[in-house]
Symmetry: C2
């Protein structure tokens, strides 16, 4: 049961949006000799632990939290999953 009280929010940049962190890591990898890496994309994950007695659909609640706080709708997309 406690497993189902956790929600995982994945936040990633929309396709086509420049990912400066990814570009920097790709360059660092090249400098380290990893020239077989073509692209690096970064994203963020937030795991929310809800109270056991939280009412309502946790997926909807987590999506609302992503929209209101975690994701920047201009450049980011999000997905939400249980656990």
């Amino acid at each position: 049961m406690s497993q189902s009280r956790k929600m995982t929010c994945h936040i990633h940049l929309k396709k086509g949006v420049l990912d400066p962190q990814g570009v920097t890591i790709k360059q660092a990898l090249e400098n380290l000799g990893y020239d077989d890496v073509l692209e690096v994309r970064s994203s963020k994950v937030f795991t929310l632990t809800f109270r056991e007695d939280t009412d309502g659909d946790l997926t909807l609640r987590a999506q609302e939290i992503c929209r209101k706080l975690l994701a920047n709708p201009v450049i980011e997309q999000f997905t939400v999953e249980e656990g």
Copy 2:
């Protein structure tokens, strides 16, 4: 085939390590009225796209990249998966 040329690296803080970003988000959620969230933990995901003709085991290669560049072994752990 091109699917198998991507590796996803999940980097998360070790258990017990303070997550300032998570704490800040939890406080912000409280201020927004979401007092049913007990804890927020943040983590990072990097998707590496390898050249089609990369030799060797990509999982091992991605793990090496995590150890050498992406993860801080003192406070972070990582997992690697295909795709």
